[in-house]
Subunit: 219 residues, 2 copies
DNA sequence: CATGGGATAATTGTATCCAAAAATAGCGGG
DNA sequence: CCCGCTATTTTTGGATACAATTATCCCATG
């Protein structure tokens, strides 16, 4: 089982991770049909774990699976993306407000460290993973496990567009700036300012993602 | 396939529904261990769809599944329930605000009809299903599919406690009253009042659910 | 008598095989 | 030539069979 080597409890979850990366990395495009047999052969496993991985990705919102008709990479509508960002604004705003009072020297240092590491990374998937890690560290002190899980869930269908949106470089600068401003306002315990930065951060990302989404929408 | 008769595309989803009802109905208690073989035998299917159903219920938050160690009915902490209600307040408040302007004669009549049917039902599971239906009709005109799905998701781990909380009868009265007040304020397009009623409705439910949750917490 | 080790049984994860459904190709009629 | 229908192929869903892991029991030992 060559695939299971890469740190995963079960073959299905390892596969799910691989497929997630493949979608985020643009290896599979929206609308593409994922054949169970093909994936099974490609990774050297049977179709059972493949099916479980596909089911997992389905309810992460990355795939649309129709009965007896295969799994396709989902093609989110702009309206849907928009809605997801509205939800993120609510959930992440709440998390940030609750985390603000819980941050301390150590958590702030950790945030800075993550941000430094993040800016050094040079591949898109690394940025995405790093961005998730940064925001988790930012919201973590709120100790709201369910909200944090929801944060991840709301990102999942979006991140593949972020990945290609960040590549130009210009947006990457603003993105990093906003992260550093977030750290600063959190360190200063300035709730209003932090909320404002987060709002701007998400609004800017929303615009970029919507552009990326609609630009590849025609096929 | 005796089970598939009940309106479901796939055996796994039919099983998932049955198991959900079994948990909501109190047939399975928090901490109970669900054996794949046993469930498979009970419903006359193989373990494959059972596994898929269990995976489904896992990410609905009804089960805790550990590798090679079986699936247990989850035992939510009071803190977790509390968090879920906070999220519901945000999401449902937003949905209600957006739906308010979209309601018309027909949708309001539908709401009244659902509420009437709801109050006639005499079994707990029927109340829950009816309550979900009512709120979906209430939020539906907002046309926010993702938020509506999130609404369902946030309820899932809670509803089994609501089911047993509603049985006394006293709370059922307040619950019905609040529903009727919601209809009235929506009909009057009074956003502030509707928000206030919804808030009270959820807060009251929260208290009852927390009581039910902590009372059966010891075992 | 408590405790740790090892064989045994029970249970989950995966592979292989069969059945049901859908996509596709080939054929006849308009 | 195009359209609709049927037969074949392909693909998915489910059942059975096997491998890997964990839990249980039993006994030896301090």
């Amino acid at each position: 089982m060559a695939i299971a080597r890469l740190a995963a409890a079960t073959t299905a979850s390892a596969l799910a991770q691989r497929l997630r990366e493949a979608i985020d990395g643009g290896h599979w495009q929206p609308g593409d049909l994922l054949r169970q047999e093909q994936i099974a052969a490609e990774y050297g496993v049977s179709r059972i774990p493949v099916r479980e991985a596909l089911a997992q990705l389905q309810n992460e919102g990355l795939l649309d699976v129709a009965h007896y008709r295969g799994a396709r990479v989902s093609r989110p509508q702009a309206q849907e993306i928009d809605e997801l960002f509205d939800l993120r604004l609510m959930v992440e705003g709440d998390l940030l407000a609750r985390a603000l009072g819980q941050h301390d020297q150590r958590s702030l240092r950790e945030l800075k460290r993550l941000q430094d590491a993040l800016e050094d990374a040079d591949d898109r998937l690394g940025w995405i993973a790093g961005d998730i890690g940064f925001h988790e560290a930012l919201y973590g002190p709120a100790r709201r496990l369910r909200s944090l899980a929801l944060f991840r869930q709301l990102r999942a269908p979006i991140d593949r567009f972020s990945a290609q949106a960040l590549s130009p470089g210009t947006r990457k600068q603003g993105w990093a700036d906003e992260h550093r401003q977030l750290i600063a306002t959190v360190a200063a315990k300035d709730a209003a300012a932090a909320q404002e930065i987060l709002r701007n951060h998400l609004q800017a990302t929303r615009a970029v993602v919507l552009a990326a989404c609609s630009s590849q929408g025609e096929s």
